[in-house]
């Protein structure tokens, strides 16, 4: 399963963030221990070589040269060759690295004299030792990077980004532990240690994730079998090698030049680079890397427009993140450096030295970001030479500038400035060259019209933010209390001051961004700027597009921007419809219970709001149309906020497709100017701003609807058949697919006068592959002859692009209860058989189905929940479905009537009405079709249902009927299905609820499930057993199952056996209830000796409740004098309730004529202890009051 861009991006950022944080802590430790001294200089010099080769042979080559070929092989299923390639590259690399290391060992003295040309003679020796120490690092880290690349491919993205943490930890441990013994060399040894750790930690993860992805990983030690791809990889590597050498030589040159400056200059450059790479790598690298797969896919599919859009998005991200960061760095360079490094050996002069370099490096951030982005774009186009030439050119420029600028007073700052200029130049060249490529591909180049607004607004806003920070920081840092904060690891006063300043700067940045959008001149009068948002499924996207079409019709100049979630339905549909789309972060509301999902929701909503803030500020909409789904949440919230601040003037319209809005939609709806509703029943949720408009259907579909019947049918439809069309939405529904296949058996006899069209659906996940599952079921259920017969009246296809045609020829449509399908059916005036999906938010499919049924346009079948090998499945009985279909098809008149009602059910001018609402005028009512505005009762929740039913049952147990409480037969049916589905829940309180409801709803079909629950002896978990639990079906469930059996009142041998067993249950309430149930069903067990004996045994039970119930049951069941004797034996029982029950039971025996010897009875009962510890209090005044009230109520009843 491929992860979405969003997931990858967030994984990368999180992984990168943490690993970079550790990396930074590592640098802080180094700075604290060694400062900007010659020791660090020496280390930086020695470090140049391994890092050079690590980048070249590790990260860059793996990612750009090896992975593309490898991916192709894996995709083609050629695992062996793929792993052969991987192994060979790995072995080659190891060999090469070892060779290079050996060479360097020999050449070290010379190398050091070149790189550290400016060092004093005495320092060469130390630099050599340092280099010797660090060379092994090159090999280890190169191999680790390669393995990391494989991990990236196997989708262990987070691990890939996290593995470098081990490096940092190793370094820190190395320094802290070894510094006392090895001095400055501990630095180098630490790195080797860290590299080894990083390599080792990746191996088990690699093995595990390869097993999970099923790619049959195998390592082959030999260089053996030739793999042709290796040539490609090697050739590609050549280009990349050149490119990397070009960009890294500059580093070397810088260090050579810096070695002539004051001691510590190299270190200052090193630390400044670390600082500047922090934001660069987090944002730039993450955007670049995460987009690689997407870019590759787009190139493969030749989706050049999408390709261009991805790149534009990347550039925008870069501008929006890098420009403010540049300003931030320039303004606050001193404090940032000092907060980051000033401790231990790193003094204030070191801060000055580093800050200077940092400021100049900061200027190149944007260029660096662009370079990062483009150096990943070109390999996707297989144009590696362009970045190479550009890098070479810029390297020359860089070296030249360095030589020039190092002589100026800014010294090492000049070196930083030179590389910034070179980076910027590089970015610009790549940008321009890419536009050239785009034009060659027939696309417009990326230019001012795409980026101008972003660039301008970001620059201005960054300026304002930066100015704020510049003004504020000196004033804040002078505050008195800050100076008093302690200095532990950090100088906390400085940290706080910096934090406050940055916060103020960011605030001003966002504010000015907002006002920029507000006050920058508008467009020509009459053009509307509309943001459309909403998505997740086509059911949300299509209405949005329908509304856009309607607005366009009214005001053709309107500008649209779609804001959605990457990787969802909108990214396909909207792009195809030709609207520009931008993406935000967001995720579904998981409910208010604390959970990880909730945290993710809050974080992504927050990020989404900030992104939306930006989109609104730059697009400057005057209308926002949200079509629900959590996707529209960030935009709506951001807009509400911006309107409060006067930054936005956009009016907000929400369209609600379903009859019950989700939680988030309810919340959003309150923020909207108008909520446009599909169903009149929904008005209750939005009493202030709700308007009923109906469901907007796209013109492309309505046009299709008006075409003649079956003009261009894609399937062979014999004449004169009654046609059933069954489908479960574009993705398909398992329930409908399976039920339909089963139903075919029952439809078979009618194969000459009906025809079944089956839209199977496109779903292809691991859990359910619609097409394969359906055809496999067909194979399994029917033999060859049957299949042949079936083919004469059954046609299946995964997806119908011309669904309007299929609708047109159908007489009956079997479908889900989504608003989209129902609206299309209504627009066609067809009758429907709806199988709503249960347990969706607000039960909206059930509500939709109910509404349509109430209007007379549909019939409803509910799903059953069954347990299939530990998995819960919804299903519909095939026979039931077939019978329903046949009975509907046979009633021609009824079908026609249903079709008429169905057409009247929906309002067909919804889009026009919405456009009018947005335009500010309202359509006259004549446009409206006659919506059946009958009020529907809201569906009850399970608990509400329980309360209502139970109180009715308590009031009158004898004549209790659930039908009296739940009047609508369909509702009752639905509730029964819901109760049944509770029985399979893994949580016992839910099963318990189900058990109670089964009884109260008199769902007799589930009698056997009740008996099963009652008899289930699966033990509880050990901890619960320790506290007194017994079985998985807890005491309450067993007790309530008995109560439900009593209410159901279906006595049979099996029921009797189970209840009889329950008399022996370990839990007293179950025994008591079993006795009561026995008593209740007395007639059935009247003459059973075993029952009487068992009950007689129970009157010696430990629990008085059981004794009491057993006594009462004996009164109802008992058939001989022994029973009476037993009951009379209770005369001295400790509990008066038991004594009373015994007396009542004896009375019953007398009434039933079992005991006739009244003399004897009088004598025996006179010995009963009649004193009691209880009495009924009787309040005269309350009784009189009650009497008066009943009197008055009776009078009013008569009057009424």
């Amino acid at each position: 399963m491929r992860k979405s861009f969003f997931r990858k991006f967030s994984d990368m950022v999180q992984g990168n963030l943490i690993s970079r944080m550790f990396g930074f802590i590592r640098e802080m430790v180094i700075a604290g221990y060694f400062g900007t001294t010659r020791a660090t200089d020496l280390f930086a010099i020695a470090f140049t070589i391994p890092t050079l080769f690590r980048r070249i042979l590790g990260e860059d080559m793996v990612e750009k040269a090896f992975l593309p070929s490898f991916r192709q092989l894996i995709a083609a299923g050629e695992y062996r060759r793929a792993w052969m390639l991987a192994s060979r590259i790995f072995n080659l690399m190891m060999l090469l690295l070892l060779l290079i290391m050996g060479a360097f060992y020999l050449l070290t003295p010379q190398l050091v004299r070149v790189i550290g040309a400016g060092l004093a003679r005495s320092e060469f020796h130390q630099a050599e030792i340092m280099t010797y120490c660090i060379l092994p690092f090159m090999v280890v880290i190169g191999l680790a990077s390669f393995v990391g690349g494989l991990l990236l491919f196997l989708d262990a993205t987070a691990t890939y980004a996290l593995a470098p943490i081990m490096l940092s930890i190793g370094v820190i441990i190395g320094i802290v532990a070894l510094q006392p013994f090895l001095g400055k060399y501990s630095l180098a040894v630490g790195f080797v240690l860290g590299g080894v750790l990083q390599f080792i930690i990746q191996i088990p993860i690699l093995i595990r994730s390869s097993r999970r992805s099923n790619v049959d990983m195998r390592y082959m030690a030999a260089l053996g079998e030739p793999v042709p791809e290796i040539k490609v990889v090697v050739r590609q590597s050549g280009w990349i090698f050149g490119q990397s050498v070009a960009s890294k030589t500059v580093e070397v040159v810088d260090r050579v030049l810096a070695s002539f400056l004051v001691p510590g200059s190299i270190a200052a450059l090193y630390f400044a680079q670390r600082l500047v790479q922090l934001p660069n790598s987090i944002i730039g690298l993450a955007v670049g890397r995460a987009g690689v797969t997407e870019l590759n896919d787009q190139v493969q599919q030749k989706d050049w427009q999408g390709f261009r859009n991805t790149v534009i998005t990347g550039v925008r991200y870069n501008i929006v993140s890098m420009v403010p960061l540049t300003v931030l760095v320039v303004v606050l360079v001193g404090p940032i450096t000092s907060v980051a490094f000033q401790r231990g050996a790193f003094g204030s002069s070191a801060v000055q030295l580093t800050a200077l370099a940092f400021a100049f490096y900061g200027l190149g951030l944007l260029g660096m970001g662009l370079w990062n982005l483009y150096s990943r774009v070109y390999p996707a186009l297989a144009k590696n030479q362009i970045p190479l030439y550009s890098s070479l050119l810029c390297a020359f420029v860089n070296v030249g500038l360095s030589l020039l600028l190092v002589r100026t007073p800014i010294k090492h700052g000049g070196l930083a400035l030179a590389s910034s200029i070179a980076f910027t130049l590089n970015g610009m060249i790549l940008f321009a060259a890419f536009n050239f490529e785009l034009r060659r591909l027939g696309q417009k180049g990326i230019g001012w019209q795409d980026l101008g607004d972003t660039l301008l607004s970001t620059t201005v806003a960054s300026g304002v933010g930066g100015f704020t920070a510049w003004i504020l920081f000196p004033r804040i840092s002078e505050l008195d209390f800050l100076a008093r904060l302690p200095r532990i690891i950090f100088h906390w006063g400085e940290v706080v001051a910096l934090g406050l300043t940055v916060a103020a700067g960011v605030f001003m940045f966002l504010m000015s961004l907002g006002y920029w959008g507000r006050f920058r001149g508008g467009d020509a009068a009459g053009t509307k700027r509309v943001i459309l948002t909403g998505g997740g499924t086509g059911g949300h996207v299509n209405p949005a597009l329908a509304i856009a079409e309607a607005i366009k019709q009214k005001e053709p100049d309107s500008q649209f921007l779609y804001v959605g979630l990457r990787g969802k339905a909108e990214s396909v549909i909207v792009t195809r419809a030709g609207y520009p789309i931008r993406y935000v972060w967001t995720s579904g509301y998981p409910g208010s219970r604390p959970s990880l999902a909730l945290v993710r929701f809050i974080v992504s909503l927050f990020v989404g709001i900030v992104q939306s803030f930006y989109h609104i500020a730059t697009f400057r909409p005057d209308t926002i149309v949200g079509t629900g789904g959590y996707v529209s949440a960030p935009i709506i919230f951001a807009n509400a906020l911006m309107r409060c601040l006067g930054m936005s003037r956009a009016r907000v319209y929400i369209h609600e497709q379903n009859s019950v809005p989700g939680k988030l939609n309810q919340l959003i709806g309150r923020r909207a100017d108008k909520v446009l509703l599909t169903f009149p029943e929904t008005t209750g949720f939005f009493p202030e701003n709700g308007v009923v408009v109906g469901y907007p259907v796209r013109h492309s579909i309505t046009r299709m609807l008006s075409t003649d019947r079956g003009k261009e049918m894609p399937l062979p439809l014999p004449e004169g058949r009654r046609v059933v069309f069954a489908f479960g939405g574009s993705q398909g529904a398992r329930t409908i697919n399976r039920a339909l296949v089963d139903a075919l058996a029952y439809l078979l006899p009618r194969r000459n006068d009906i025809f079944v069209i089956h839209g199977v659906g496109l779903m292809k996940t691991a859990a359910y592959h619609a097409w394969e599952d359906t055809s496999e079921r067909l194979q399994r259920e029917y033999n060859e002859q049957e299949r042949e017969q079936i083919n004469s009246f059954y046609y299946a296809q995964d997806y119908f692009h011309n669904i309007g045609d299929i609708y047109a020829v159908s007489d009956l449509i079997v479908c889900r209860g989504g608003a989209g399908s129902l609206n299309e059916i209504s627009a066609m005036g067809k009758s429907a058989l709806i199988i709503p999906k249960a347990n969706l938010p607000g039960n909206h499919q059930v509500m939709n189905a109910r509404a349509m049924k109430r209007a007379g346009g549909a019939e409803v079948i509910f799903e059953d929940t069954v347990k299939d090998g530990g998995m819960l499945l919804e299903e519909v009985n095939g026979e039931k479905l077939a019978m329903k279909i046949l009975s509907l098809l046979d009633a021609q008149q009824r079908l026609e009537e249903m079709g008429r009602c169905s057409r009247a059910f929906m309002n067909h001018y919804a889009a026009e009405r919405i456009a009018a609402e947005i335009h500010g005028s309202t359509l006259t009512n004549s446009f409206l079709s006659d919506i059946s505005a009958k009020e529907l009762d809201p569906l009850l929740s399970d608990n509400e249902l329980l309360v209502q039913l139970r109180s009715a049952w308590r009031e009158n147990q004898k004549q209790y009927e659930p039908r009296k409480v739940i009047v609508d037969a369909d509702d009752l049916d639905y509730y029964r299905h819901r109760a049944a589905s509770l029985l399979t829940s893994p949580s016992w309180p839910e099963r318990n609820l189900g058990v109670k409801l089964i009884g109260l709803l008199k769902h007799e079909e589930k009698l056997s499930s009740l008996l099963h629950l009652l008899a289930d002896r699966t033990p509880a978990i050990r901890l619960q057993k320790f506290f007194g639990g017994d079985y998985r079906q807890v005491g309450f469930i067993r007790r309530n199952a008995l109560i439900s059996l009593q209410i159901l009142n279906k006595w049979g041998p099996e029921v009797e056996a189970r209840v009889f067993e329950a008399l022996d249950d370990g839990y007293y309430e179950v025994r008591a209830q079993a006795a009561r149930t026995m008593g209740h069903c007395a007639e059935a067990v009247l003459q059973k000796q075993a029952v009487t004996e068992k009950l007689l045994a129970l009157i010696n039970d430990r629990s008085f409740e059981v004794v009491l119930e057993a006594a009462l049951a004996l009164g109802a069941v008992g058939g001989n004098r022994e029973v009476a004797m037993g009951l009379l034996g209770l005369k001295e029982h400790h509990y008066w309730q038991v004594r009373e029950a015994a007396l009542r039971a004896v009375t019953m025996l007398v009434e039933r004529g079992i005991v006739t010897d009244r003399e004897w009875l009088l004598k025996e009962t006179s010995r009963f202890i009649l004193t009691t510890t209880d009495f009924r209090s009787y309040f005269d005044i309350k009784e009189t009051y009650r009497k008066l009230h009943t009197l008055c109520k009776g009078e009013t009843h008569k009057e009424g």
Partner: protein, 368 residues
Amino acid sequence: MIYHIGQWLHSQIESLGFLRLLGYLSFRSIMAALTAVVIVFLLSPRFIRAMHRRNFLDRVRETGIDSAFDKAGTPTLGGVLLIVAMTVSILLWGNLANSFLLLSLGALLWFGGIGFWDDWLKSSRGSGDKGLGEITKLVLQGLFAVAFIVIYLGPFSPVQPGIATQLYVPFLKRPLLDLGFFYGFFIFLFMLLVANAVNITDGLDGLAITPSIFVAGVLAVFAYVMGNTIYADYLQYPYLRGVGELTVFVSAFVGAGLGFLWYNAYPAQIFMGDTGSLAIGGMLAVLSVLLKQELLFPLLGGLFLVEALTSQIQDKIGVRWLGRRIFYRAPLHHSLQHRGFAETKVVIRLWIVAGLLALLSLATLKIR
């Protein structure tokens, strides 16, 4: 107030020697009790009528016990009476510069406030289930507990340094051990448990108030002893300077409680509501801590503890987790009712139990 005025007059005018009387704890305690009773008697009839008129009536939660339904419509918020009477009486007769007294009064008012809010919500929302959430209540109570711990263990503690964190165990002469920092955790839990125990106990007419009076009475004796150098020395208790003032505080409570019982006795004309039960709970908790009798409380207030534990075990372990009842019913008094005891019988028997426990606890004064 009277105490302070008296002291001032006494210091100014020699001839007012009889005002010396105001210095005696015994005299002020008795006066405080009498004042509280009188206030309750004066206010109650009007208060009850006002509650009826304003419809502050009890909303019964469904417990499955028949007798509870006859109680719907009894006015609640009687705790307000208790708290007002006590506060006035203490302001009149107490030494308001005494931090023991102030801390206890703070607990009474804070916990009473929480209870009042809860009652108010229940009444205005018209349902016994819609008061403050369990978590909200615990957080509010916890806030006080934390503040109390900070004061009690900090530099402004009314107790001499070194004693505050000692753990005294009944029947042992010397403190068992010094819990140090952990003492804070210990009393935090202790306070939450005790405060809510009284609330749970308050389920039958007169069931909460009489045992509370017993418990408070015993604590008053301890306060008197520990606040007196001679007795403290003789009985080998730590002498806590100024703790005797708590005798006045407790006396005011005893007085107000007796006055309340007058109306609350079966069949009740008024309930104390959460206002009263939380206030009493909070007060008892703070008193036990201040008097270093935390570990005596399980014995002294054993009734409250059993009520609380049965209720929690039944609900949290039994009904919610195991899916079965562990006791026939919970808390204890409902269990007794379920076994067929009339309400009056349950109440009086539990009074007897509480009285016996109080006597036993009093014995620990000497048996050590």
